[in-house]
């Protein structure tokens, strides 16, 4: 269970990093990310992982 919690934590950090990097990339070179990836889905995944992460941390 703890391992899953750690994995979720790492996944959350990577998603946070990807959101920041993708947004900066998109600002400097419009279309570079949005031509392949819908950032809405990244944001939704980030929120779900974040909530799950909080839930797991609280219940461990």
């Amino acid at each position: 269970m703890k391992k899953i919690n750690f994995a979720f934590q790492e996944f959350f950090y990577v998603l946070s990093g990807s959101l920041v990097i993708f947004s900066l990339l998109e600002l400097t070179w419009p279309g570079v990310v949005l031509s392949c990836i819908n950032l809405n889905w990244v944001l939704i995944s980030w929120l779900i992982i974040g909530i799950l992460n909080l839930y797991l941390t609280k219940n461990l």
Partner: protein, 492 residues
């Protein structure tokens, strides 16, 4: 043990992110200088970042099996690229159930005068001539059609061409040395006092005289954009003179007409021949007068007689005349030859066929604010008529009635693939209108395309349509290596 697990997960996830970023940058930069994008115009539920949907919606219709068809023309789409490319090859898949005779695809080159670089998709007249007349094929899709075989090669034809009345071209830049043997300069002032709105191009002729033209302009301030006036002079398709009148006024759209002054051209030592004058302005600019010492002056393809023009008479060699108005007060009946062109709706184009005669067709109408267009030139009187170029072989031309004996074109007949027909069009992107955000570091560009299908009208009662399917855009440009090499060689 737990630490190793965390590090493994961390490494894998960040590595995946780095790979994803690398992939995105590779896609965008296209380091080999090539990119292919595909989109199916017949499917409405799919979206594509690179090739956008067809617009406007009013000219599209969903038919059986959720297939989107085009029922009116022109329709537009745009292409987004993430870097600059030099060439675009468009492979269009289409179905033409109503056998529409003439389809072209165009790339927007100049937004001020809405100039599109048009390339063929299908030209039924040309397809029929290829079947009926002897054909000589040249390089890069060039072909020469002759009613009776006289020339053995295209080079022979270009070296010793027949008179231009016998020739028609399509998608081919035919250069001819046009000379009027009986022309004598009159030295008199010729005045066009009918106001003209927006951009236009006209032919004029010079022989042992100065090119002398004076334009009087005003600005009707219908939109807030800056309204510069640019006058270009071309000889044999080369820009030889350019003059700009900048708009120094405040950006207003109050509809008040203001004086914008005059532009004069007085150029001497010009070689004898036909010259093309181009006025590049937006629709706010009115040319109130053109005063010229040249006795020949004919407007090319399109002319917008502005509000205030009265009792207008024009001459044209176009096989048809199209008229349109945006002003309800300008609805009227236009006499085209012996035919009536009834202009009874605004924002809609009406066509009339000109009677096939050896002399020019006459166009008469009472009120201005009418846009006239056709496949030919328009002059304000018979004497000022000049047409130094050959006819364009489109669906409006009757080859036999016009005495066309030779057709030179750059054209490839569409291929058949099952129920679809496949056409290819190649565009040069180096000198084209491209939109892109100003703040960016990369070079995102948006290019605008048009699909023209003359005769396809969404508002008529005819149930005709055309279906465009899978469209592939193959882009090519300089590779990353070429760009690096260019920097290296430029430095040395």
């Amino acid at each position: 043990m737990q630490n190793i697990f965390v590090w493994k997960i961390r490494l894998i996830l960040w590595l995946m992110l780095i790979i994803a970023i690398g992939f995105l940058l590779y896609q965008a930069a296209a380091p080999i200088g090539r990119a292919n994008y595909t989109y199916d115009f017949s499917q409405t539920d799919k979206a594509n970042y690179f090739i956008n949907k067809l617009t406007p919606k009013e000219r599209l219709k969903i038919i059986n099996n959720n297939i989107q068809a085009i029922v009116g023309e022109p329709v537009y789409f745009s292409l987004n690229t993430l870097r600059k490319f030099d060439k675009a090859k468009i492979i269009l898949q289409y179905q033409n159930p109503d056998d529409l005779p003439f389809i072209e695809i165009g790339l927007l080159k100049d937004k001020t005068i809405w100039n599109y670089d048009l390339k063929p998709v299908v030209n039924k007249t040309l397809n029929q001539l290829i079947m009926a007349w002897p054909v000589i094929y040249g390089e890069n899709g060039k072909l020469l059609l002759q009613r009776e075989k006289k020339y053995q090669t295209i080079v022979d034809f270009l070296k010793n061409p027949p008179t231009i009345n016998e020739i028609a071209t399509y998608n081919y830049d035919f250069k001819n040395n046009y000379v009027l043997p009986d022309y004598q300069p009159t030295g008199q002032d010729n005045k066009i006092a009918h106001p003209l709105r927006g951009p236009y191009q006209f032919w004029t002729y010079v022989k042992n005289e100065n090119l002398n033209l004076e334009f009087v302009f005003s600005d009707i301030n219908k939109n807030k954009d800056s309204d510069p006036i640019e006058l270009n002079l071309y000889y044999r398709d080369k820009l030889i003179y350019n003059k700009i009148l900048n708009d120094s006024g405040a950006p207003v759209d109050d509809g008040r007409k203001i004086d914008r002054g005059k532009l004069r051209l007085d150029i001497g030592n010009l070689a004898e021949g036909a010259y093309k004058v181009e006025l590049r302005v937006n629709d706010d600019i009115i040319t109130d007068q053109i005063i010229s010492k040249q006795s020949k002056l004919s407007f090319i393809n399109c002319l917008w007689l502005a509000d205030g023009a009265k009792d207008i008479e024009l001459k044209t060699d176009s096989p048809f005349v199209s008229a349109q108005t945006i002003n309800p007060a300008s609805l009227q009946t236009i006499k085209v030859g012996g035919n009536n062109l009834i202009l009874n709706k605004t924002y809609r184009q009406f066509d009339a066929v000109c009677p096939i005669k050896s002399e020019l067709a006459s166009i008469k109408f009472e009120k201005g604010d009418v846009i006239l267009s056709g496949n030919g030139v328009f002059s304000f009187n018979q004497d000022s008529f000049i047409k130094p170029v050959v006819k364009k072989l489109d669906n409006s031309i009757d080859v036999n009635a016009n005495g066309i004996n030779y057709v030179i074109a750059k054209y490839q007949m569409p291929k058949e693939e099952g129920t679809w027909q496949i056409a290819e069009a190649e565009f040069d992107l180096t000198n084209t209108y491209q939109e892109g955000p100003a703040y960016q570091l990369g070079s995102t560009n948006k290019m605008n395309f048009l699909i023209s299908i003359p005769g396809l009208n969404a508002e008529d009662d005819v149930d005709d349509k055309i279906i465009f399917g899978k469209t592939t855009v193959k882009l090519s440009g300089r590779s990353l290596l070429d760009k690096i090499k260019a920097i290296f060689y430029e430095k040395n």
